[in-house]
Amino acid sequence: MTARSFVSSALRHTALLLIAAFALLPFAVMVSTSIKPADEIFSETLRWWPQKLAVIENYTEAFSAAPLMLYLMNGVVVTAAIFFLQVLVTLPAAYALAKLHFFGRRLAFGFVLFCLLIPYQAIAVPLFILLYYVGLLDSYSALVLPFTISVFGIFLMRQFFMGVPDDLVDAARMDGMSELSIVWRVMLPAAIPALTAFGVFSIVTHWNDYFWPLVAVSSDKYFTPPLGVMAFRNAEAGNDFGPLMAAATIIVAPLLCLFLLAQRRFIEGIAFTGIK
């Protein structure tokens, strides 16, 4: 490596490190606060590592002051159900839009693109009223049902399926597969990278979603983690930041683990979509 390229590479890395540090700062503050006792949080000198560690106190407080385990379980159940149902709807729809020739296909795809433009907050009130009339408010169904059809997922998977060769679909037809068998036996295995990418998007979105659970459920046995943190904050008098940040850390941790596990395939999925 020449001196010049070393300098430019060092400069580039410094810039990237600074940006990364800036992005990670709130996160670091959260973790740091979660291990401090209450008096140190508001002390005048800012220190990353507390003089007196309060890990055990804060984290046991987080688990005991609110049913955090229940909220985490709710989060898992809701995000898993949403993703499962999304796949069930998305793959056949994307297959039809990518590989079948039917009257109105372009129009149908146009609608999918159009729906991408609608923010879901805009339809929250009609959805709420709808669920009220069906009598499903304040239940797991209220948390899951509005998200079963993911137009983003249909769009993403359709772009991926466009790159799957037509010959493969024809071969499956000659081999005796029905159209639905083709979706589950040929397209699904071919689409694992794209599906992983979609899964990460979907799970992160719905795990972190605060708005809809706040609207849809009121009894705390259906609370998802973000709601749980807030309920936690109101439950005790005053703002007990130590345990609060401990709870926040606990809630973020599963997502981090999931992303690290899926990272390689996730990037593959993004990179391969629409190419081949």
Partner: protein
């Protein structure tokens, strides 16, 4: 075993007529090639036979019974695709087993829990046996546990063949199965597919744009152009008695020589004719039907423009006075001509083909005009 009859099949995509009333009778056990330049409709015709594409008119008969309303899977045909279309997530053995699994196991037996059923186990064992026999026949047994991504082009092509064979279909449809192989592999695979046909005795319908593949493997060749079949005949007949100038030009390498000529005195061909001459025709002769000669007494003369030495043959390109490039095959053992030589060309009158201005063959025996 099956005969395939194509009855006035028409295919249109909007305004474009891809197939214009195709009629073709394919006999049981025959190896027939559909050959033509790209876009001539040969692949569309094959897809219509398979049922993957629906014709706009006409019908397809398998063993005398119409199959127009029957889905591809129930037509008892197998297809080998140009890209092989192997399932990338399945091993070679699993790929080959798919047509049998989809036909013999019902939905419950195919499901995850169904694999525990005794009936499913018995059927899967039986299928594994059949897959094994096909793999042995094509000598790909050692590849059984590999995924398609780790195979070479030639190996993938064999796996695709095995997947088609395993079901023992009544006819094989092949859509340019060799075009993704390199030249050397292609010659080898040509021989293997022809041998496979002799051994199985099934009907083979083979689509290709490569006239050499069609010539070397087929019992009969159907030459297609512009959505029509121009001629259906044995390779010998197609080569020696082309009924249409376009057939003559498409089949044979190097290409047949075509010269404008005029018929005088009924059956005398003249290459030196006045612009006002009547009876204009197109005379064609293959490079091996001509030889180089002295300028005197030759009906055509020109200057040697280029010489292609292929070892066994010497193809001499002669630029005639009229500005046509004529290719003549020479024996490399004889006197070697040199570029720039002035030579005459003499054709074998019995092997002259004469076509009208509408490209149709004009039957008859012709004499060449006496040299100037």
């Amino acid at each position: 075993m099956a005969s395939v009859n194509i009855r006035s099949v028409v295919k249109t995509f909007g305004e474009t007529h891809v197939l214009k009333r195709i009629d073709l009778d394919i006999r049981d056990g025959e190896f027939i090639s559909l050959v033509g330049p790209s876009g001539c409709g040969k692949s569309t015709l094959l897809r219509i036979i398979s049922g993957l594409e629906q014709q706009s008119g006409g019908s397809i008969l398998l063993d005398g019974a119409t199959v127009d309303r029957i889905r591809p899977r129930d037509r008892d045909l197998a297809m080998v695709f140009q890209s092989y279309a192997l399932y990338p997530h399945l091993t070679v053995a699993e790929n080959i087993a798919v047509p049998l699994v989809m036909r013999r196991l019902n939905t419950t037996e195919r499901s995850l829990l169904g694999t525990l059923l005794p009936s499913a186990k018995a059927k899967r064992k039986e299928i594994a046996g059949e897959v094994g026999r096909v793999c042995d026949a094509l000598s790909i047994s050692m590849l059984k546990d590999r995924k398609p991504a780790s195979l070479s082009g030639g190996q993938r092509q064999r796996v695709a063949l095995a997947r088609a064979m395993v079901r023992k279909p009544s006819a094989f449809l092949m859509d340019e199965p060799l075009s993704n192989l390199d030249a050397k592999m292609r010659v080898q695979a040509r021989g293997e597919i022809a041998a496979l046909h002799r051994q199985l005795g099934s009907t083979f319908i083979y689509v290709t744009h490569d006239q050499a593949e069609a010539m070397t493997m087929s019992d009969r060749i159907a030459v297609m152009m512009g959505g029509e079949i121009l001629q259906v005949d044995t390779p010998d007949q197609i080569y020696q008695m082309p009924l249409d100038l376009r057939v003559a030009e498409f089949i044979g390498s190097p290409k047949i020589n075509v010269l404008q000529a005029a018929l005088t005195e009924g059956d005398v061909l003249s290459f030196t004719f006045a612009d006002t001459a009547n009876n204009r025709v197109q005379a064609a002769f293959r490079p091996e039907a001509a030889r180089l000669a002295g300028i005197a007494n030759a009906p055509l003369a020109g200057v040697i423009h280029h010489i292609e030495n292929l070892g066994a043959d010497l193809f001499v390109q002669v630029m005639t006075a009229g500005g046509n490039l004529v290719v003549v095959r020479c024996d490399p053992g004889g006197i070697r001509p040199a570029i720039g030589d002035k030579v005459g060309i003499v054709m074998d009158e019995a092997r002259l083909h004469v076509f009208g201005t509408d490209n149709r063959r004009i039957e008859g025996s012709y004499r060449l005009e006496a040299p100037l």
